[in-house]
């Protein structure tokens, strides 16, 4: 049984390799993204040593690692699920002897492995060569970061699955998906680290799952969180991972009822 799921990972990995144009343009676009934000933050710092707890050097590292983390955890599970719901192929998935959502997760993970090895690592090397990025020196930070990166992937995919399943209830959820993408980029701390937000907004952010996707692992990588602090932020990620299982479970159940009663 588990080898079946492993196969989904493998197949998706191979599929990703087949999309050559996407691969090459992806590398270029991510480098451009890092460049733009590097210079934007340089302009914002404008010679100031420190803003919102970030030194200018930490900011550079943060920008690079956040974008490269995004290159890894990003996927289109929401679109895939929504498309399968809209064109009705989801009905076939229900009669197959596996758990649909788990399969989607595995496909996402296959894509993630591709993105990690083919996007993130080469991209990080390019970023280190082009910009003054400081890599962590302590092995604990490295290990902590990599574990947290995996949870970033899990939480981001969970959010994607939830949004994708909304297609059961809203005929056209393109707008919702587009919005989710922007919200995740902004509130995960990719575009602006959470500590830059005004106090009240930071307060709200702390009660949302988005910061667990980019801001927390980014803080470990830049060395702003160290030692036992790493376990603390990792704990936040684990808690969010568990909490998000609840709405997914209920949405999925409601979706099945809807599919069986109304025929999709």
């Amino acid at each position: 049984m588990s080898s079946l799921y492993l196969d989904f990972i493998r197949i998706r990995f191979l599929t990703m390799l087949a999309y050559r144009v996407n691969y090459y343009s992806g590398i270029l676009v991510y480098t451009l993204n890092i460049g733009v934000y590097y210079f934007t933050w340089q302009a914002i710092y404008g010679g100031k040593e420190q803003l919102a707890g970030f030194t200018a050097a930490q900011m550079t590292t943060y920008v690079a690692v956040s974008w490269m983390a995004r290159a890894f955890y990003f996927n289109n599970l929401d679109r895939e699920i929504a498309t399968e719901i809209r064109d009705g192929t989801i009905a076939i998935q229900f009669i197959r002897p596996y758990n649909y959502l788990l399969v989607k997760m595995m496909q996402g993970f296959g894509e993630g492995i591709f993105r990690f090895t083919m996007f993130m690592i080469p991209g990080m090397i390019i970023a280190v060569l082009l910009f003054p990025v400081q890599l962590p020196t302590s092995p604990v930070s490295w290990i902590g970061f990599l574990v947290m990166l995996f949870f970033s992937f899990l939480i981001n995919s969970q959010i994607n699955i939830l949004i994708g399943l909304m297609a059961f209830f809203i005929e056209n959820n393109d707008g919702l998906m587009r919005m989710k993408r922007v919200v995740v980029d902004l509130f995960s701390g990719l575009l602006i680290p959470i500590s830059f937000f005004p106090g009240w907004l930071t307060g709200i952010m702390n009660f949302l799952p988005f910061q667990a996707i980019t801001y927390l692992p980014g803080s470990v990588f830049t060395g702003r969180v160290q030692g036992t602090g790493i376990l603390e932020v990792l704990g936040i990620q684990v808690i969010w991972f568990l909490i998000l299982l609840v709405p997914i479970y209920f949405t999925w159940r409601a979706a099945r009822v809807r599919l069986f009663v109304q025929g999709g």
Partner: protein, 261 residues
């Protein structure tokens, strides 16, 4: 005339379809507006930490953003290529398009009309008026004709870039195409371009000229002397990019018809 008639015909069909899914209509409008709001949040947060960005004040950057929303709304309404690869290439609807007597690109535009996006254009104008007021900009007679020319230029550039990127679907084997990768890049033309280094400036001006859908034309209304020349280049670049995109599209279609799907 034939094409204008078709626009009307497809528009009425859009309305009829939408009336059957009223709730969706509002979800779409609201999510569109929230999408814009998050971009504004970025500006506000950044300016909480600095007085100016590349010599532009907060109100000026907001004004640029307001300008951007006008052509962006027009573009989203008429040229919605978001699903092209998936729907037309992978699902094969391109074949149907090619058996009909109208230009293929135009048919695809019409089948994907999205009138609610125009609300964004209206809000963009309101933002321009509001931030213009904060800046103490005097309304001058030439603003309205200039805004129309610039908006057309910017819309053509936006359309051109995305048609070019969509044409890649004819050559690429990926269903999603590379458009999703551009979502972030399109925002970069809205900030004072001088903060970037030379290479990125060149990219945003000549390669993926998003600066012409933001900072350059808006600088005309902000009366920024240093970008005046670039501002007036907007309609020229618009025509240029749009023409190039049509050529690429046509050659993409030719390739599609050569290779099949």
């Amino acid at each position: 005339m034939f094409y204008l008639g078709l626009i009307w015909e497809y528009f009425t069909n859009y309305v009829k379809t939408r009336l059957t899914y009223r709730a969706d209509f509002w979800v779409e409008v609201i999510s569109d507006l929230l999408f814009q709001a998050t971009n504004l949040i970025f500006i506000f947060v950044v300016f909480a930490h600095t007085e100016t960005l590349g010599g532009f004040t907060e109100a000026e950057v907001v004004f640029v953003y307001g300008y951007f929303m006008v052509p962006y709304g027009l573009y989203s309404c008429f040229i919605n290529l978001w699903n092209f690869g998936d729907r037309y290439i992978v699902k094969g609807e391109m074949d149907r398009i090619l058996t009909r007597p109208a230009h293929s690109l135009f048919q695809i535009f019409l089948e994907n009309l999205d009138p609610p996006s125009l609300i964004g254009s209206v809000i963009g104008i309101i933002i321009m008026i509001w931030s213009g007021g904060q800046l103490g900009l005097e309304m001058e007679w030439w603003y309205i004709p200039a805004l129309i020319i610039m908006t057309i230029g910017s819309t053509l550039i936006y359309a051109g870039i995305y048609i070019i990127l969509t044409s890649v679907s004819f050559y690429s084997d990926s269903p999603t195409g590379i458009i999703p990768l551009m979502v972030n890049i399109q925002t970069y033309g809205r900030y004072p371009i001088t903060i970037y280094n030379r290479a990125i400036q060149i990219i945003l001006t000549w390669v993926l000229p998003f600066a012409f859908v933001g900072i350059y034309p808006a600088a005309l209304f902000l009366q920024r002397e240093e970008m005046m020349a670039m501002a007036w280049l907007t309609p020229v670049m618009g025509l240029l990019f749009f023409s190039v995109s049509l050529l690429l599209w046509n050659s993409g279609v030719k390739r599609y018809r050569g290779a099949g799907s």
